[in-house]
Amino acid sequence: MKTRRIAAAAISAAVVLGLAACGGSDDGDGDGGGDSGGDSVKIGIKFDQPGLGLKEGSSYSGFDVDVATYVAEKLGYDADDIEWIQSPSAQRETMIETGQVDFIVATYSITDTRKEKVDFAGPYFIAGQDLLVRADDSSISSVDDLSGKKLCSVTGSTSAQNVKDKVPGVNLQEFKTYSECLPALVGKAIDAVTTDDTILAGYASQAAYKGKLKVVGQPFSVENYGIGLKKGDTELCTKITDAITSMIEDGSWDKFVAANFGESGFQPGEGNPPTPAACS
C-alpha cells in the first residue's frame, strides 16, 4: 500500500513537472517572437550540411549561411535580426507557401516543377553533380569510370535518380543522409559518393575527412542554386537579385567560396560566378 502511494505521488509529480516544462518553453517561444516581431527575417537553411548550412550549438556556418546573411544585410536586417529556420529538402516549397520562412537559401536547385509553386532569385551558384572518392584512389576520374564500382547516395534524391540514368546498372547503395555514406567510403566498402559538388566539398573539408577524400571535379549535371521565395513577390525577388549581383561584384562571393570550400581544394565549376536571371 505504501509503495503504491509513493508511486502515485512520483507519477503525479512527474506529470506536474512535465507540464511545467512545457509551459516554460511555450513562454520562451512567445517572448522570442514578441521581441523580434516585425524587424526580424526568417531564413530557411539546411542545418546538417557542412560547408553550406551547418548548425553547431547556436552558431551557423556555411556558404548558404554567408550568402543569406549578406542578402539580409542588403535588405536592411542586421545579422542579429535573422531567425534561422531548418528547411529539409522535402519541405521547402511548403514552408515558403505557408509563410514559415521569408526566403530559403538551402542548396535549392531551380527547376521547372518547383517554379510552379515558388519563385526563385538567382542563381547565386552553379553546382553540378560530381563524385567524392578516396584521396588515394586514381581509378575513378569521371562518371564513365563507374561501371563495376560501388556507389552511395541519398534515397530518392535527384542525384541518385540522375546517376541511375547516366550509368545503367550502377551498383548503388542509398542511405538517408550523405553522412552515413562517408564511413563506408573511408572504410572501402563503397568506392564513391555522388551528389552536388558543393555538398561533397563541404564534407571533404570537414576535420574528420580532411586529406582522406577528394572531389573528382568532372561535374555531369548543372544545378542552379537559387533563393526561393513566395510566388508573385516580385519586389522581394528584385531586391534579392540586386543583392546577389552586388555580392558577386564586390568580391564577397569569392571570399565566401574560399572560406567554406577552400580546405578541400574544390574549385567552383564552369559558369561561376553566375549572372542572376531577371525576376519575372
Binding site: 534515397t155 535527384t158 552515413e180
Partner: protein
C-alpha cells in the same frame, strides 16, 4: 493524380512491400517459434537465451537494426549477401524485419502456451511424451490457435514497418515508402500523394485485421 500513376510504378512499389512483408513474416514466424519454445523449455540456459533474444531485439528500434545490418554487418564486417548492393540491401532488410518481429511473435506464442491449463503439459509428460513431443503434439497447436489475434497484430505491424526498410533499400526497386520519397523529391510534397499511399496500406492491412479477428473466433480452443 492520374499522372502520378502513369509516371511512377506505385503498384510495383506496393508489390515489393508485399514481398518484403511475406518473407519477413515467414522468417519471423520460424525464428519466433524457436525462441518461444526456448522460453518455455525445461533447460534454464535456453530460457535465459530466449528471454535475452526477446529483450534485445524487441527493444531495439527497427531503424537502428536496418542501418546496422548494412553499415555494420555488410560494410564493416564484410557480410555481403550479394555483390549487387540493392539485392544485398533487400536481403538484409528481410533479415532485419524477421529478426525484429520474431521477438513479438515469440511473446505472442508464449502467451498462447500460457492459456493452456498446466494439467495438459503434466498429462503429456505423464503418458511418456518427451518435451519435443509434448510441444509438437499438445502445446504448440493450441498455442497457435490461442495466439492468432496477437499474431495478426504483429503481422499488421510488420507490413507497416516495411516502410522503415527505405532507410537502406534505395530506389532501384523501391517499396512504398521509397517510392513516396522519389515522388516527393520530383513533384514536391502533396497531401493527395500521401493520402494515396495511406490508402494503399489500409487496403493491405484492413482485410487482414478482419480475417484474423474471424480466425481467432473460429480457431479458439473451446474450454
Amino acid at each position: 493524380m492520374g499522372d502520378v500513376f502513369e509516371n511512377y510504378d506505385i503498384i510495383g512499389a506496393f508489390w515489393v512491400t508485399i514481398q518484403l512483408s511475406a518473407l519477413g513474416a515467414l522468417g519471423a514466424l520460424v525464428i519466433g517459434t524457436i525462441v518461444a519454445v526456448m522460453r518455455v523449455s525445461p533447460v534454464q540456459v535456453l530460457r535465459i537465451l530466449g528471454a535475452a533474444y526477446v529483450n534485445i531485439f524487441r527493444n531495439t528500434p527497427l531503424t537502428l537494426l536496418m542501418f546496422f545490418s548494412i553499415a555494420g554487418m555488410a560494410f564493416i564486417l564484410g557480410l555481403m549477401l550479394s555483390d549487387d548492393l540493392s539485392t544485398n540491401a533487400y536481403r538484409w532488410a528481410v533479415i532485419a524485419l524477421a529478426v525484429y518481429h520474431a521477438g513479438f511473435v515469440a511473446e505472442a506464442l508464449r502467451s498462447g502456451v500460457n492459456t493452456i491449463p498446466a494439467g495438459q503439459a503434466e498429462a503429456a509428460r505423464a503418458i511418456g511424451l518427451t518435451f519435443g513431443q509434448s510441444m509438437r503434439e499438445v502445446l504448440l497447436p493450441q498455442a497457435f490457435r490461442g495466439a492468432i489475434a496477437p499474431l495478426g497484430s504483429t503481422l499488421i505491424a510488420l507490413i507497416k514497418n516495411t516502410t522503415v526498410a527505405a532507410v537502406i533499400l534505395g530506389t532501384s526497386n523501391p517499396e512504398a515508402a521509397g517510392m513516396l520519397q522519389v515522388i516527393t523529391e520530383n513533384e514536391g510534397a502533396s497531401l493527395p500523394t500521401f493520402g494515396l499511399f495511406a490508402i494503399g496500406f489500409v487496403i493491405l492491412t484492413l482485410p487482414l485485421g478482419v480475417l484474423f479477428t474471424r480466425l481467432s473466433q473460429q480457431l479458439a480452443v473451446k474450454r
